[in-house]
């Protein structure tokens, strides 16, 4: 059983700083897209900020993550530079991937952001490989695979958890259960009420946690990380959450039963965590605003940087296909 201790103040504030960056980045992204200044498929993570923040506050740069199209929050929490992220979302040459990958394929190895996939389930097999490399190298670095609730029904989930368990790989499977896969309800596609239950099929720990509760998340992650670093193998974590802006930017909510979203928004981790910090005396409103303002400034600068950055040259089509440049 994971402990239930409140992390030290500086950790709580570090987590807040990450959540603030994520929250404001998402707000800004939706504005910029709405304004037409940026055209891209955008999968808002608003409502899911606590999940990567409470985890990444406990990770090293050398720990790796593998995430999905809905992964900007994971990237930022892991330390992906805001300006390069924005430039990538804008398809510019200063982006993490020179604009060639785009928002669905952001990669930044220096911060441990190894892969972002657009294929449901495919973050998991690769995360196993990153973990296997750590094991072979004899380091105690961990590999994290982020994925969604609907991804737990695809074969890659099963194969990856079984392989990770059999090989005792230092990988943490973090499933954000936001109750929907695109427009289809979780209950309609998953045979069991809790994804965490499926850990039984692999003989590994499975935890269902409140994805809006930073402290609960923190403790569950800590146990999983300790296990992984100690060579005891993988953990499956199901974090209950909700995506406040639907599947992709521009979605309507027609497919959601009335009141469902409102109920979720009432448990918005963002104001709740601010309240937790202030009520608990960990910070004043003013402290938190200062953090927010700093991030807003960073984001503003990043947007400007991105939009000022040039588009890649057409020659890039012949580069990075193979190590050796192709001849036009």
């Amino acid at each position: 059983m994971p402990a239930n201790t409140i992390p030290p103040k500086e950790v709580l504030l570090d987590i807040y700083s990450k959540m603030s960056l994520l929250y404001h980045n998402d707000e800004r992204a939706r504005q910029v897209i709405r304004s037409g200044r940026l055209v891209m498929p955008y999968y808002s993570f608003r409502g899911q900020e606590a999940i990567p923040s409470a985890l990444c506050a406990q990770l090293r740069d050398s720990d790796t993550i593998s995430t999905i199209y809905r992964g900007t929050h994971d990237m930022l929490a892991k330390g992906c530079p805001v300006d390069k992220l924005w430039a990538e979302m804008a398809g510019r040459v200063d982006g993490t991937c020179k604009g060639k990958g785009g928002p669905m394929h952001v990669t930044h190895p220096e911060s441990g952001m190894m892969v972002t996939t657009g294929i449901v389930g495919s973050s998991m097999p690769i995360a196993c490989g990153l973990a296997w490399a750590n094991k072979l190298n004899g380091t105690d670095d961990v590999s994290v695979a982020f994925f969604g609730d609907a991804a737990n029904n695809i074969g890659a989930f099963h194969e990856s958890l079984n392989l990770a368990a059999v090989w005792k790989l230092p990988v943490i499977f973090v499933c954000s259960n936001n109750r929907y896969g695109e427009h289809t309800k979780f209950e309609e596609t998953c045979a069991v009420p809790d994804i965490a239950t499926r850990a039984i099929s692999y003989g590994i720990p499975g935890h269902k946690v409140n994805g809006n509760d930073v402290v609960e998340l923190y403790n569950v992650y800590q146990e999983a990380i300790d296990r992984a670093r100690a060579g005891e193998g993988p953990t499956l974590i199901e974090a209950d959450t909700f995506r406040f802006f639907g599947h992709v930017f521009g979605d309507d909510d027609a497919y959601m039963p009335a009141g469902e979203k409102e109920a979720a928004v009432a448990n918005d981790p963002w104001p709740n965590y601010r309240k937790f910090l202030v009520d608990g005396g960990y910070a004043t409103e003013a402290d938190l605003e200062a953090v927010d303002e700093a991030h807003k400034a960073t984001i503003e600068a990043a947007v400007a940087f991105a939009l000022a950055s040039p588009f890649p040259d057409a020659r890039e089509l012949y580069i990075d296909v193979y190590a050796e440049e192709l001849v036009a």
Binding site: P41, K98, G181, H183, P312
Partner: protein, 328 residues
Amino acid sequence: MSDKINMIQAINWALDDAMAADKKVLVLGEDVADHTGGGVVGVTRGLSEKYGRERVVSTPISETAFTGAAIGAAMMGFKPVVEIMLMNFMTVCSDMIVNHAAKLRFMSGGQTSVPMVIRTMTGPGFGSGGQHSDFMEGWYAHTAGLKVVIPSTPADAYGLMRSAIDDPDPVIFVENGPMLFAPGEAPVRGTKVEIGKAKTIREGKDVTVIGYGRIIQTFAAHAAKLDDLSVEIIDLRSVQPWDRAAVLASVKKTGAAVVVHEACKEFGPGGEIASTIHENLFSDLRGAVVRLGAKFSAVPFSNPLETAYVPSAQEIEAACRNLVRVPA
């Protein structure tokens, strides 16, 4: 009924008419039922309300399982229309398509068959990047037992879908994403388009341009503006089987041919068409058949790269002029 509709509407009509005509017709895939949005772009909208959720089923994200389920149902005499949301996702269930759907008739000596349709969307032009835009028709056309169609107008989409559903063998029905929203002549409901029959969308005498999908329509619009170059344009509509007779007749007349597609040129479907022309009309040709296709890279995200990735109408024109020695 307006006389201009888009391809989404046209395919929706085809499914609707086919389901009304034959109780054995089923629709399945992610999000296809109305309570889940009626399909990611609405192609299946209204069908579950009209024909019931037994016949129009939203599936878990398990392409292997639900494509297999469609195969099994087809073997029992149903006519499932499966949606694999995007063509790149067909790679997670290629075994079901290539080793099973395509081969069961042959391997059983004709005792079983798989009269199913696989609908899938793809195409550069959406800024969806490397894992959401690939054209893989070449592989399926190379797989004995499969048929492949790629309509370029709403009317053809309607007519080909009706024929695909009637077809006793598995048909891969490719929906060109960026074209789905373009309005065109409304189909006459009930009018089917024979699989394997091309359409000459422009008559000409100097050179024949052969292709399918979005690129052939883009070039047709462009060619209409060229008064010093008489181009005959053939929209194959079906890639497997393809209309050799129509292509050979036209090229015999013009003595010059350009083959275009949005799939990569290298080892792409154009090689089959170009080779067949050479094999049959070698001495009638003024020069070697020209193949044009996408650059040999993953589909890039950055807009200018994505544009440069696919051959432009100007490049196709230049190839024609070069062949027939008509300077611009």
